[in-house]
Amino acid sequence: MTALPLVGFLALSSALFAVGLFGILTRRNFILVLIAIEIAMNAAILNFVYFGAFSGGTGGLSGQAIAVVLIGFAATEVAVGLAIVLALNRLKGTINVAQANDLKL
């Protein structure tokens, strides 16, 4: 039987979320921003699995089922994100997010 401290896992996903947040705020390349979003999203999905694995009853199954659905949503988000990258590249000739400012006042 595996026994592990929950706190270590939660610290890991907080750190990964912080890394993702940092990437979203500082990177200028659209693909890097997407990758940073993926890191943050993975940290969030991990949280569901931890609490499921350490909870009693059928709680673990809810955690895992929600994680399955969230992995699907994350994959969808990457597909739409890359479509936006390609459209932006065709429109502007660059994928620098600092130059995609047409909606700025």
Binding site: M1, T2, A3, L4, P5, L6, V7, G8, F9, L10, A11, S14, L16, F17, A18, V19, G20, L21, F22, L25, T26, R27, R28, N29, I31, L32, I35, A36, E38, I39, N42, L46, V49, Y50, G52, A53, F54, S55, T58, G60, L61, S62, Q64, A65, I66, A67, V68, V69, I71, F73, A74, A75, T76, V78, A79, V80, L82, L86, N89, I95
Partner: protein
Amino acid sequence: MSLEELAFLALAAVALFTGVAALLVRELVHTILWIAVFFVDISAIYFLLEAPFLGVLQLGVYAGAVTVLLLFGVMLTRKRIFSREAVTGIGAVPLALATVTFIFAVTAVGELPQAAQPVRAYDPSLLSEALFTTYGPYLLLLGLVMMGAVAGAIYLVREGRE
């Protein structure tokens, strides 16, 4: 310290290192190689948590599909895939914000019990049963959202738009 805890510490260190490395390396293709290692590492954490179905799903969807999709994005948006990225600074304010978020989260976590707890294992067949009965609506919603997203993605990249 048990073997599982050592395995967890090693996996956590690799996850943090590859996550940071993916965002800081200069060449975009190297970023994708690092992020592939990150996804495989997260999958190993799922196996450690006795969730083999999620581990396999993570390998298939993230390490397989998402990585290749990102690689295609890089290939289609630049002339030479090994061209270097312009240097972007660390950015003091975002770094401070991320640090504050991390400290806040860890402080909130500090209230929880520190001792090792047993990890509950579930049979994958139980999970599949739950997915198609209790969580059926969520799965259906995922299917609908995916269909809409694919239609939207095709609309965004189609040729000959006004």
